[in-house]
Symmetry: C2
Subunit: 420 residues, 2 copies
């Protein structure tokens, strides 16, 4: 089964945005065992859009379009597909109801052009939009299956996952042996180091297949297999997962596609554990990362961003003798990392206390090199741990890696505490 | 002049990487006044690559290819272009010298396949690679100009800027009038509202042209014009900028492509102003956003993330009478926003104090609706301002919008203070 992806939008051709949808869709289709031979980007132009449809339907069984479903006259994807396959557009009642409710709730009248978002292609299946107003569509014509998705990634992803994928499985991939995948997530180890550790497995892979991807200090390993039933597939995948886990026992934090902060928030919520943090060079990124997870409010009590020595002393009670003077270890030191996490834990009266202090650059601080970072974890009634990091990269990389390294250490600490 | 971009690489079709090269090249070409009508991604397959060349040369004057210049048998771009235009490949002497030096320096023998990186297209111009080993190429055939660039962005960007762009200006764009642009940045106003305010200008636009795009609570307006010299262009662009600024005086924070936090850090550094923050629902995002700017360490003294009422009382001295009891306004209130920013300013002894308190969801808090947020700004010796926001969207949107709204208010406050 061959597929093509067509992203529609002049903003892509002007380089105003990156086509992350093509990556997401390509990865999802690969996971379903569908080969993608071409990705195309075309502007908001009816003629060129229809030409792209003509070409892609000669080359592919499945054509996935993203973008151009919005309310303005520039949004032409539905018009182009309807014209290309020779059918009419009509208003989808459910999408129209949703639009009307939306404008009623806001107390503003709906302008005429907004109705375009409820247009559906004759003979097709509307795909509902959980997180937006523009309805999607799935329609088959002369052996080619067209899927129309909205452009904003936060609308496209749930629509693909919950509407388009089931439609493809039910209507198009009926004779295919389905492919099943599992995502294994790793932290505290780089992509090439993990590749090294798993190299025997990766070289020998036939079934299941193994693919690695890295992003923002986390590595994802996707293992996939074709099987006649989910039970059979999961048996093979679970076996391989167990082998992988035994080869890299201390780094695999999840067997689903979640960030490590999600696993931490879940673990802490289960045990009603609480946490606080004192951050210097990360400037709030550790707390901000935990806060991004819904439900974190009950476990993250709060904390302090303490750039200056004055704030470190005033709010986290770091003794001046550690910070200033020729004999003092200075703000960027294991000693200060230890005091910061212990003190913030006491101030907040939380079960765990976290700290980060380091040099994010540009420029040295305290004659210490850029990338030198200390992270600390204090625990009620237990000993404190402090780790020294030496991170290569620019300011942004250093701040992200330091945050992820601390979260990785916290995850390990929580795992140990859970097994106590 | 019409151009197309062809990215070559199976890793793109598998969704393993995002095609950021297409964005970079599209933006650069737009800046040179060249229209991009299509972007295509094709795998490491000779037949499909030649088919993509055939299609693009029918449609475009300039075809820019990225990727497939490396040493392996999968790297086929040069082979495909040479076959398509009917010429031979030969080794470029300079590229070969560089390769030999590289392997000599490392003390390892050069394997045969590495020589492929020095291959050049007969009749074309080799483009040297400052940051890598694979030589690029520029070659014209039957009115179409092909530019071959390496895939890694850190090699592609300098080669485009220093080799391909001059080649295009000298050989292809000789008769074109160059295009000049300016980016105007707006905050505190949505894309559609700004579009409304500028609608007369946008409708009447001929020269300069006006384009709007929005991202993360900021709107960018790009104004562009063709002119025989930069001086003439800037005269026209500055005039239009002044008109736009007079139409929306309170929202334009920069006439270059920078985020508002950059402008804030610059303004504060100029005046040696300092700031601190007390954040509830944003969980550190305000401080984290400011921290992302190099040089912010000298103005952001620090602050507090205060999710719980205990932390609000303990670290920021919010009176319990405001937080708890049937008569209390509660943590999410204008009163608490005011106390938070005034107290954190005093605790940190900074010139400005910021606060955010609100309901980011999911789920109501204090019987207050999701999206209700209060932001406050205190200033040494001046009155405090508090703004109520009602933000639609999910947890992430609410946190980002609240942060950007507070930064917008801070920018206005600093602008007023500067003119004092």
């Amino acid at each position: 089964m061959k597929a093509e992806i067509i992203a529609v939008g002049t903003e892509l051709l002007l380089g105003q945005i990156v086509n992350t949808n093509a990556q997401y869709l390509s990865r999802e289709l690969a996971g379903m065992g569908i080969d993608v031979y071409y990705q195309t980007v075309v502007g908001d132009n009816l003629g060129r859009l229809k030409e792209a449809l003509r070409l892609s339907s000669q080359r592919a069984d499945i054509v996935i379009l993203s973008g151009g479903l919005g309310p303005t006259q520039d949004d032409l994807t539905k018009d182009a597909v309807a014209e290309y396959i020779g059918t009419e557009l009509h208003y989808d009642r459910m999408a129209m109801d949703k639009l009307e409710r939306f404008f009623q709730d806001r107390g503003t009248p709906m302008t005429e052009n907004n109705k375009r978002q409820a247009l559906a292609i004759g003979g097709g299946t509307p795909l509902s939009n959980e997180t937006g107003l523009a309805v999607g569509n799935a329609v088959s014509h002369e052996g080619t299956h067209f899927i129309l998705l909205p452009g904003p990634p936060k609308e496209l992803k749930p629509m693909f996952e919950n509407e388009a994928k089931p439609w493809l499985l039910q209507h198009v991939l009926t004779d295919e042996v389905p492919i099943y995948s599992k995502m294994l997530k790793f932290a505290g180890i780089g992509e090439s180091a993990l590749d090294d550790r798993l190299s025997d497995l990766i070289t020998a892979q036939i079934d299941p297949t193994i693919a690695l991807y890295a992003k923002d200090g986390e590595v994802t390993v996707r293992i996939s297999t074709k099987a006649s039933s989910e039970t059979k597939a999961m048996e093979k995948l679970d076996q391989l997962q167990a082998v992988i886990q035994s080869m890299v026992p201390e780094h695999m934090y999840a067997d689903r596609d979640v960030p490590i902060e999600q696993v931490i928030v879940d673990m802490m919520a289960d045990r009603s554990w609480t946490v606080s943090a004192a951050e210097s060079c990360t400037g709030g990124l550790v707390m901000e990362t935990l806060t991004s997870i819904p439900g974190s409010a009950s476990m993250l009590l709060g904390g302090v961003v303490c750039y200056t020595n004055e704030i470190k002393q005033k709010l986290v009670h770091v003794p001046n003798s550690l910070l200033e003077g020729s004999e003092a270890p200075g703000a960027v030191s294991a000693e200060v990392a230890q005091v910061l996490c212990e003190q913030i834990r006491m101030v907040a009266d939380s079960d765990f206390g976290l700290s980060v202090t380091g040099v994010a650059g540009p420029g040295y601080a305290e004659r210490k090199p850029v990338g030198l970072v200390y992270v600390g974890i204090a625990e009620r009634g237990k000993s404190t741990e402090v780790h020294e990091l030496n991170i290569k990269g620019n300011r942004e990389t250093i701040r992200i890696r330091a945050t992820k390294a601390l979260l990785y250490r916290l995850w390990r600490r929580l795992s140990d505490a859970e097994s106590d």
